[in-house]
């Protein structure tokens, strides 16, 4: 037991560190793949070294330095990225002075906010957003994320790879949106956290009703986000909502794993600490003009949590809050919940006008956040569990005989009585719970639970309008904001299929020169003049380095200081190490195919470029002795290649010089001659249709005159 707890705490610390590490590396290299690999390497190194040498004073700084060195090594090893290395090296040198190993934890900026916004970018599909967030910010391994969404590991790995590829190729920026964009972008982030929690609170698939691990992850993410954006009231509201809802977790399940209605729950089991924390957060979230939906929902949850018993629940206030919520987001589910609250306040008859006022189905077009094959976070909000009120005699005939529409409450195969009659947290129309029949999900075809009608919301006399058939015919329409859900994002890269080489890890970041130090800027200005027809000018500027402003100091965002990982426990240590390795293995395996193909392309391109007639690019001469932080390319090639299909030993790559500056010499080329030469070279250089990577790769094959 103790051991398990130790394992959990070590893991938590590492995951916390890992996400910060990833954020820093991703911000610097603008490359999630690279960041991930070197972060894993650094953690692995830490697991090897720390038990022997002791845990360093500044664990994150140690990890960061190690990871950065490994990144530089890795890029150096990649021969075709030689020129890019120059910029990286400059940047890395500067970074070393900016963030010395001695710097404390608080001195290192917490870049995770950028990562949050990148991972939750609306241009990514919702399932990819959740997966990336769990992967990179919650620090789950790919198999764990796959388990969370109940899909095979390979599927999840592929999904993550695809999302990362899109981030790279469509150039989704790593940045925190400005204050003017924040209102538009923040909901996407909040929603991801919310969805993860909802799936943990009321799992839409699998055998268990609760997935405590997911709920915990969501709360952890919400806490991180709250630390990063303490003044954003919706973030506060979301955290409060999650805490107040999660506080009831222990009471929601009986010994047999069945659900317990709110009315029947043993309120002594509710977590008083979480409730108190949530209530503290609700106040600032609600205070001030322009209250957001999460804050209102948190307030409703707080009212339920405050009630000493079900009967003493403050229904009038809840109704009032639902009124507010309905104005913020007029969704049929909110209206439904409001009607329920009115019924609880004034009796069933009082609520019947509300039923008839429910919007027409066309306007509550179902949106499903996650398509059927995808993760199954439910969209509806994990409202305070409430038993639907006895509004009228349950019309059992219509409820049980008709296969659809089923009421929101019985859309799942588990006992559903406690299912929240949901309100919605997002502007995306209504919930999936209203879209009760999902044909591709086998569990929906299963026999109904015998008591499934128990928690059903009794219907008014007429046929309810939440008709899934109708809704599926009618494409979902984003009501307030956001893209059309449930549809493949038109931006999703289809062209690069598995097995095709992924695009470059990094490419030119525009405005790079402007952000460089003056000395480097001079060099780049010189390059700028050489640019037409030169390879180097392009490639240098292609560098993935995201140059940090020299004067960038520790920012004022709050940082956290995790506990020192207790490495006293050998078992824990071994387990962690094993998991780190397993994770790395799985990831590499998933990338193997693509990596192999890419290496081949790179090798051919490289060889082609080395043909004498193509050597019209300026050479970079390395005159610097190798530094400890950066092993020369020759020795790096001796280290074990990670790819299963390493490039065959070719001619030694040109030694590339980190300080690109003064050593940059145009190779045997008079600038006046260049246009003609370039044209000739280009004529020989096979360019082909962008559609066909394969044909391109074959024509890059070194000419056979060898």
């Amino acid at each position: 037991m103790n051991q398990q707890r130790a394992a959990r705490s070590v893991e938590a610390v590492f995951r916390e560190d890992r996400s910060r590490l990833l954020a820093l590396l991703a911000a610097r290299f603008a490359d999630l793949d690279l960041a991930e690999e070197v972060a894993s390497d650094a953690i692995e190194a830490a697991l090897e070294r720390w038990p022997v040498d002791g845990v360093p004073d500044k664990p994150l700084a140690w990890l960061l330095t190690t990871a950065r060195r490994k990144a530089v090594d890795r890029i150096r090893r990649d021969r075709t990225y030689a020129q890019r290395l120059a910029v990286l090296q400059v940047e890395s040198d500067r970074a070393v002075t900016a963030v010395p190993v001695e710097s404390g934890f608080d001195d290192i900026p917490d870049e995770r906010l950028q990562l949050f916004f990148t991972c939750c970018h609306p241009a990514l599909s919702p399932e990819a957003r959740a997966a990336l967030t769990l992967r990179f910010l919650a620090g789950l391994t790919t198999p764990e994320v796959a388990r969370a969404f109940l899909v095979p590991t390979a599927t999840m790995a592929q999904r993550i790879v695809r999302a990362k590829r899109k981030i790279r190729s469509a150039r989704i920026p790593f940045r925190v949106p400005g204050a003017d964009e924040l209102p538009a972008r923040l909901p996407s982030v909040l929603r991801v956290i919310y969805l993860v929690f909802t799936e943990g609170y009321a799992a839409s698939s699998g055998n268990d009703l609760l997935r405590p691990d997911l709920a915990d992850e969501a709360i952890r993410l919400a806490r991180i986000l709250h630390r990063l954006l303490p003044r954003e009231r919706e973030v506060t509201g979301l955290l409060a909502l999650l805490l107040l809802t999660d506080a009831r977790r222990a009471a929601r399940i009986d010994a047999a794993g069945g659900q317990v209605l709110l009315e029947d729950q043993d309120r002594a089991l509710w977590d008083a600490d979480l409730i108190a924390e949530g209530q503290r957060l609700v106040v600032p979230a609600l205070t001030g003009p322009g209250v957001g939906p999460y804050a209102v929902q948190a307030a409703i949850a707080a009212l339920h949590d405050e009630a000493a018993s079900f009967d003493t629940t403050d229904w009038p206030q809840i109704v009032a809050l639902y009124d507010v919520l309905l104005r913020i987001e007029p969704s049929p589910l909110v209206a439904l919940n409001r009607a329920v609250a009115i019924a609880m306040r004034n009796g069933p008859e009082a609520a019947s006008p509300c039923w008839t006022a429910l919007p027409r189905p066309r306007n509550c077009a179902a949106t499903t956040c996650f398509p059927q094959h995808g993760p199954t976070c439910s969209e509806d909000w994990a409202a305070p569990p409430r038993r639907p009120p006895p509004i009228g005699p349950p019309s059992t005939s219509s409820a049980t005989n008709r296969s659809e529409p089923r009421s929101p409450a019985d859309s799942r195969n588990s006992p559903i009585a406690d299912r929240p009659v949901a309100a919605r947290a997002d502007g995306n129309a209504t919930t999936r719970r209203t879209r009760t029949v999902r044909p591709a999900a086998p569990r929906d075809r299963g026999p109904r639970e015998p008591d499934a009608g128990r928690g059903r919301v009794p219907r008014p006399g007429r046929r309810p309008r939440l008709d899934p058939r109708h809704r599926r015919r009618t494409p979902a329409r984003p009501l307030a904001r956001g893209r059309r859900p449930g549809r493949r994002c038109p931006l999703a890269p289809r062209r690069l299929r598995p097995g095709h080489p992924p695009p470059a890890r990094a490419r030119r970041r525009p405005g790079l020169a402007a952000r460089l130090r003056p000395s480097v800027r001079r060099i780049l200005a010189a390059l700028e003049q050489l640019r037409p027809g030169t390879v180097i000018a392009v490639d240098v500027r292609v560098g993935p380095a995201r140059v940090v402003q020299p004067d960038q100091g520790p920012d004022d965002r709050p940082t956290m200081r995790p506990a020192r990982p207790p490495f006293t426990d050998r078992h824990t240590y071994q387990e962690l190490r094993r998991r780190t390795r397993e994770d790395a293995t799985a990831r590499r395996a998933a990338l193997d195919e693509a990596a192999g193909a890419r290496e081949e392309i790179l090798r051919r391109t490289y060889n082609w470029l080395r043909e004498p007639e193509h050597a019209h690019r300026p050479a970079i001469v390395d005159t610097r002795p190798p530094t400890p932080t950066s092993t020369p390319a020759s020795s790096a090639s001796a280290t074990a290649p990670r790819s299963p299909s390493p490039a065959p030993p070719g001619p030694a790559p040109p030694r590339c010089a980190p300080p690109i500056a003064q050593h940059l010499v145009p190779a045997r080329r008079d600038r006046t001659l260049r246009p003609a030469t370039t044209a000739a070279a280009l004529a020989r250089r096979p360019m082909c249709s962008p559609r066909s990577w394969r044909s391109w790769s074959t024509c890059v094959k070194p000419p056979s005159r060898t």
């Binding site: 992924p502 030119r508 490639d539 890419r598 790179l602």
Partner: protein, 123 residues
């Protein structure tokens, strides 16, 4: 590699699909709106190219495996969503491209698809 490498974004302005049930303005975007957008894009210096396409005279060509050339009339905006125009922009990242796409008058009426121009030397 022979020229400065930039990632260019292509905004494909699609006409609304006739079966779309989405609410949209009754009238299509006006010429003035497009002129204003055109001016904004040009003034910002991000426009590389951009044109409206005639949606009434599309012809589709396909060559079969046996070399036979198949020419068909269409597609037509009356029957499906088709590209009504495009802009080629040079902007730093996807966010900027999406901002421009959102400002495009076509986005309010139909859809605007944002794509990057594939480049062979991406790796």
């Amino acid at each position: 590699m022979h020229e400065e490498r930039t990632v260019k974004y292509l905004l494909l302005i699609n006409t609304p699909s006739p079966d779309s049930t989405e609410e949209r303005p009754a009238q299509g975007p006006t010429v003035e709106e497009f002129m204003a957008f055109e001016k904004a894009v040009s003034d910002a210096g991000v426009k590389l190219d951009g044109n409206a396409l005639d949606t009434s005279n599309a012809t589709t060509v396909r060559v079969r495996v046996n070399g036979e050339r198949v020419v068909t009339d269409g597609p037509f905006a009356e029957t499906r969503e088709i590209v009504g125009g495009y802009y080629l922009l040079d902007v730093p990242d996807l966010d900027a491209a999406l901002d421009w796409a959102a400002r495009c008058p076509g986005a309010r009426y139909g859809t605007v698809e944002v794509r990057t121009v594939w480049e062979p030397d991406q790796s």
